[in-house]
């Protein structure tokens, strides 16, 4: 704010005073001029009067002369009367003239001279004014002389009067010019002064206007700053207050009420009222502040709690200053700040820092453990920074190459020095890919270690953008030499195994197929013997023959089962839609004789269409149902219940799979002889039998085939049982 804002009023005063003086001056000047002009005009008038009187005087003299002449000529005393009147008039006129010219010594002197001349003239005339004397005219000589003299005097008078009139004329001339001078000068002066005055007034009006504008501006900015102040108070939640120590009047700013939780001016602003808000434990602090602030000029900021109108406890920080003279009264000005949020933020910050410390600590632990892991796992990690094209290697990355940690500068050139000649291209290409932002392929290459040993390395890398937005590539390099050889061996073994299995399957098929032929012949011959030669045999022979027949029958079954097993082994993966309802119906049809014989009770749910190999599913169902029929209790009607449910893997504990994969679950439950649960896995093994050959017919292939089929369908089969209580076979086939 400008300090010279009061200067203008001083200026105004000066302008005003000057204007006043000018007006007064103009008045005085004008008055003097008017006075001068009137004096001039009076003097002119005076001159005219003098001239007139002179004329009159001369005319009286002429009258007296004329009268005298009349008397003298006529000798009639009648002419004497005007003569006397003229004389007294002369005297009167003379005295008037004397009076008129009393201020003018020159005219006075002239007048005196005139008086002398007039007196001499009158004296001559007087000698002849006596009627008696008139007779003396006869004395012509004297008269003639006197008359001459008197005529001469008259001329002298005329001259004198003319002289005087001339003098007065010269005066008049002089005065007239003076008067004219004054008359012409006065309006110029008056006008010019008036003009200056108007200028001054206009200027001061302009100045005043400008001041008013500035005042308005100042007022505006004042209003603005008041508004800003109140907004600032609201925004940063503080209030201001004023405490007059003399009058003991306290005033609060609007926001002071608000931070206490009230509408502005909703209660009287007194210190006692304020104290009711203060937290009971902090009342002491506030009272101390109040007592201190009265004595000390500056109050250090102090913090205390208040209880707001809504009951919330808030932290306030107050500070005040005592102003003694500046405000012309002993007044404390103060600011009270609601610092609750600040305190909370500080607490939060503190907590964040603690959390950060914790995380940091964990990171350190993690770092340490990852270092250990690198050593244990035979791998190293590295970072390639895009900005400066520099590598950072982990300690173990150096060790992998046979070096002490950080013993050489990790650059692509130094790395290539160690790469096997034949594999350099791989590394160079991968590095180029990384630098050109392409996908970085997994690299498999050989490294010649410092000690000369060739090791096989595998590197995977990924571009990575850190929190600051810097892009880099982080990679992991593993020494996979052992794994490489192991997997190489494994591959070879696998190949061997595949070959073996293939041969085995071929063998299985061919063997069972070729075995069938002699067996069939044996059986045909047995049947021929039975038909044609049985009667010729002894009882022993008959018994042996029937034993041969049973053995050959069994062999047939075995061979058939084996054939079937080898057929499922082929792993037909041509999956089609298979309607299990149809499959079940076919199986029941296939086993209808058996079912009828056993009078079995079979119940089943409606099944679903699955993806699978139809003949295998047929085999599966037939095997399971015939299995249940086979191992049914002799003295009980076999009961088989087939149930279907669509399930999720995570809900089936036995699958040990927590995913949401959906399975078709089909359960075959029977009331047969069952088995010990411990054998639940054994029964699916090839040629594994739990019962004697004679008790229950079976080759131990049927369930093995079932398992094979289910596994071909990527499913699972489980058995659960209890002796004499029946068994449950559960199949899980994945949905699609």
């Amino acid at each position: 704010m400008r300090k010279n804002k009061f200067k203008s009023s001083k200026f105004h005063k000066i302008i005003f005073t000057i204007s006043l003086f000018v007006v007064l001056f103009i008045g005085a000047i004008t008055y003097k001029h008017i006075d001068d002009v009137s004096t001039s005009s009076k003097q002119i008038m005076h001159t005219y009067e003098v001239n007139l009187e002179l004329e009159r005087l001369f005319s009286y003299i002429k009258d007296s002369e004329n009268s005298m002449r009349g008397f003298l000529i006529t000798n009639e005393s009648i002419y004497l009367n005007p003569y006397y009147t003229a004389n007294s008039n002369i005297n009167q006129s003379f005295s008037t003239l004397k009076k008129l010219t009393s201020d003018n010594k020159k005219q006075q002197k002239n007048l005196n001279e005139l008086y002398e001349i007039i007196k001499k003239r009158l004296d001559y005339n007087g000698q002849y004014s006596d009627p008696d004397v008139s007779k003396h005219i006869e004395d012509t000589k004297k008269f003639k002389k006197d008359f001459f003299k008197s005529s001469k005097l008259l001329v002298a008078i005329r001259n004198k009067i003319n002289e005087m009139a001339d003098l007065e004329s010269s005066y008049l001339k002089k005065r007239n010019s003076l008067y004219n001078e004054q008359i012409s000068f006065t309006p110029v002066l008056t006008l010019s002064i008036l003009f200056i005055t108007i200028l001054l007034i206009v200027y001061s009006y302009y100045k005043t206007n400008k001041d008013l504008e500035r005042l308005k501006e100042i007022n505006n900015s004042l209003n603005k700053s008041i508004f800003l102040n109140s907004q600032a108070e609201i925004l940063s939640s503080f209030g201001t207050w004023e405490w007059n120590l003399i009058t003991h009047v306290t005033t609060y700013s609007d926001n002071f009420y608000r931070i206490l939780g009230y509408e502005p001016h909703s209660f009287p602003s007194t210190n006692d009222n304020f104290l009711t808000f203060v937290h009971p434990e902090d009342k002491e602090i506030v009272l101390e502040i109040m007592s201190k602030v009265v004595k000390e000029e500056n109050l250090p900021p102090s913090t205390f709690r208040i209880i707001r109108s809504d009951g919330e406890i808030r932290f306030f920080r107050a500070t005040g200053k005592l102003f003694d003279e500046k405000l012309k009264s002993k007044t404390v000005l103060g600011v009270t700040h609601d610092i609750t949020d600040e305190i909370n933020n500080n607490l939060l910050l503190k907590k964040n820092i603690e959390d950060l410390k914790k995380v940091n600590n964990e990171l350190e632990i993690f770092d340490e453990s990852s270092k250990q892991a690198e050593i244990l796992g035979n791998y190293g990690s590295w970072v390639l920074n895009f900005e400066n094209n520099k590598f950072i290697y982990s300690d173990n990355n150096f060790r992998l190459m046979g070096y002490e940690p950080q013993s050489f500068e990790p650059t692509i050139e130094n790395l290539l020095l160690h790469v096997h000649e034949e594999d350099k291209e791989i590394v160079i290409e991968a590095n180029e890919a990384a630098l050109s932002n392409d996908e970085i392929p997994t690299m498999n290459y050989r490294i010649i270690r410092k000690d000369g040993e060739v090791r096989r390395f595998k590197t995977v890398a990924k571009s990575f953008i850190d929190l600051s937005g810097e892009e880099s590539i982080i990679g992991t390099t593993q020494d996979v030499t052992e794994d490489y050889y192991k997997s190489k061996l494994l591959k070879e073994r696998n190949l061997e195994l595949e070959q073996n299995i293939k041969e085995l399957n071929e063998f299985n098929h061919v063997a069972s197929h070729d075995l069938q032929e002699p067996l069939r012949k044996i059986q045909t011959f047995i049947s021929r013997l039975n038909d044609k030669e049985k009667e010729n045999l002894s009882d022993f022979g008959k018994d042996y023959l029937s034993r041969i027949q049973r053995a050959s029958d069994r062999m047939r079954i075995l061979i058939n089962d084996l054939l079937q097993y080898s057929r499922t082994n082929r792993g037909d993966k041509n999956f089609n839609n298979v309607d299990l309802n149809e499959v079940l119906a076919n199986s029941l049809l296939e086993l209808s004789q058996n079912i009828e014989d056993r009078k079995a009770n079979i119940q089943y749910d409606s099944l679903q269409v699955i993806k699978g190999v139809e003949f295998q599913m047929q085999q599966l169902f037939t095997n399971l149902i015939s299995n249940s029929l086979k191992y049914s209790k002799e003295n009980e009607v076999p009961k088989i219940v087939i149930k279907y449910k669509k399930v999720k893997a995570k809900n089936e504990a036995i699958l040990k799979d927590n995913s949401n994969r959906v399975y078709h679950r089909i359960r075959f439950k029977d009331n047969g002889i069952g088995f010990e649960q411990e054998n639940a896995e054994k029964i699916f093994l090839l040629f594994n039998r739990l019962h004697g050959k004679t008790e229950y017919q079976g080759t131990g292939v049927g369930l093995a085939i079932c398992k094979k089929i289910v596994e071909n369908h990527n499913g699972y089969i489980f058995a659960s049982s209890e002796p004499n209580k029946g068994s449950i076979f559960t199949i899980y086939i994945p949905k699609s």
């Binding site: 197929h513 069938q516 067996l519 012949k521 059986q523 045909t524 021929r528 047939r556």
Partner: protein
């Protein structure tokens, strides 16, 4: 010439099987004349011989030396001359592949050699008494394999 017997030929390398085959027909009360050959080549030579009387039914074993059943079947089906001869596959195997192959190649029936003489008799009598015209017209994969 109206024949009053059915002429039957068998090509099988197994002597025992040939024996069962002829024995079975001997015991059957059907008027048949049975000729047997040791392999496909012998059979074809016979068939192609101008003086040969063509059989009504040929029984073909699949697994034979020199010329096996499948190749033999192909040969027979090449010639229109043999169109009227019914061909029965007579094999130990009943693998899907064999059944399918022979069906596609135009055999009329597939018989799995039984392991019981009485069953053999039954099967052969069945085959011989089939109305071939009727059977062939409705032939499909399902009734191709003879089941008893």
């Amino acid at each position: 010439m109206q024949k009053d017997y059915i002429l039957i030929t068998l090509a099988d390398d197994d002597e025992d099987d040939r024996l069962f085959f002829t024995d079975a027909f001997d015991e059957l009360k059907i008027n048949t004349v049975v000729n047997t050959f040791k392999d496909g080549r012998e059979l074809l030579d016979f068939l192609h011989h101008p003086e040969s009387v063509l059989p009504n039914i040929i029984f073909l074993d699949l697994n034979m030396p020199i010329l096996n059943g499948i190749d033999c079947l192909k040969e027979i089906k090449k010639s229109d001359k043999f169109n009227d001869i019914a061909i029965a596959i007579y094999s130990t195997s009943s693998s899907d592949q064999d059944v399918e192959n022979t069906f596609v190649l135009g055999a009329n029936i597939y018989i799995k050699k039984p392991s019981d003489f009485n069953t053999l008799k039954k099967v052969l009598s069945e085959v011989v008494t089939i109305n071939w015209q009727y059977h062939t017209s409705g032939l499909n994969k399902d009734n191709f394999l003879l089941r008893l």
